[in-house]
Symmetry: C2
Subunit: 221 residues, 2 copies
DNA sequence: GTCTATATAATGATAGAC
DNA sequence: GTCTATCATTATATAGAC
């Protein structure tokens, strides 16, 4: 994936063009002629190499998935939002495209998206457990769910970037917006948002009451 | 919005059907014939009343926006994720549809989505400031950005629901998944995730160093 | 206001030349 | 392997009858 575009086979150029279009505009909105134009080939060649638009999508899924999973295994860390976004900044061209591709895939709930999310959550959970073991992270009542929450926050930042950037007074999502989000996020991760544990205690009590049948309004069940 | 479907004008029936389809399948994937079928009218009548598919979308945007903003003003609270999702559970039919409609709109970055997010963030910020003033919330270095983070987490939960639910071992998003996410979220909001403030301090130091030109690698600028 | 029939355009996919 | 030309389908939008 590091070669110049001119060195690639037509098949690879088509796949890369498709990834870019699917990531930017979504699968439905993208038509084969636009992909072909970006790749510098004819529309017929796209079908010749991939058979159909759906099979082209599968090929893109496989390619993006392999790349991202490999990277996640290399440099995953427990900082939640930071992980994805640090890469997003340091490698703004290709990695960002692939992340945005996966975000689209999640929106459309494709099999590749499920695999990607599972891998991300697995990695995150593993890191959380290691952090809890070595004392750098707090214990949690549900580590798996906390891992899901971490992945959620990371990916959502990309997914909802444009409207959220504007809510902060910026034209579009970029380094300035990112920098402004990092500190509040770390503050939240460090000491939370609530001044005391009254809301948490209340929720725990409500949950336990719901679990206990003797407190149920209809106890004659 | 509380009348029976049979009491509505054809125009309202079409708009409601369109909202449902756009929310479920997205704008591109939805065709006018499906909307017409759901509304129980002909495809031609859709165009007759709204002029074009795009204008129909605008009408849906306006309608959903008005409804949601009014509700947000009524019962907004500072619990982040809980706000949207409590409504999502307590009023599973209509409100859920409208929230999902807006999530789609955010994905496609429409003007209505920008207004919606702005309103949500404004409300959230207002609530945060009130909480900080009365001592129930911790002070933040950037209240506006924290409000953005809150809205982000709330909406992302809906947006990425299917793959995240499966990552927790459930077939689909529902009350069980929600319940499992609430406690870790409250724990995060109450005391964070990190055992100490080392990561936060490191980030603050890095930020201050970047702000100070005398520490820059290329100081001869 | 509502329907049916139809024009027009866009798009995914095929066929065959080179 | 690659292109051009074309088909078949689908979807938006129009026209006109009732």
């Amino acid at each position: 994936m590091c070669s110049a575009q001119s060195d690639l086979t037509a098949q690879a150029k088509i796949r890369n063009a498709a990834i870019a279009h699917f990531a930017r505009d979504g699968f439905q909105k993208t038509n084969l002629r636009a992909i072909a134009a970006t790749a510098g080939v004819s529309a017929g060649l796209v079908i010749h190499h991939f058979g159909s638009k759906d099979k082209l999508r599968s090929a893109c899924d496989d390619h993006v998935l392999r790349t991202l999973v490999r990277r996640a295994r290399d440099d995953a860390r427990p900082a939640g939002m930071q992980d994805v976004l640090r890469e997003f900044m340091s490698n703004p061209e290709e990695y960002r495209l692939q992340v945005q591709y996966m975000v689209r895939a999640i929106e459309e709930d494709t099999p590749a998206a499920a695999t990607f999310v599972d891998t991300m959550v697995d990695e995150s959970e593993e890191i959380l457990r290691a952090g809890i073991a070595d004392g750098s992270m707090r214990p949690s009542s549900d580590v798996r769910a906390l891992a899901v929450l971490n992945v959620l926050i990371s990916l959502a930042t990309l997914n909802m970037a444009p409207p959220l950037a504007r809510a902060l007074g910026h034209e579009r999502f970029g380094p300035e917006v990112l920098r402004r989000m990092v500190l509040p996020t770390l503050e939240l991760y460090t000491h939370g948002m609530y001044a005391d544990d009254a809301p948490l205690k209340a929720a725990q009590a409500a949950w336990e009451a719901a679990q206990d049948p003797s407190n149920s309004p209809n106890k004659d069940e």
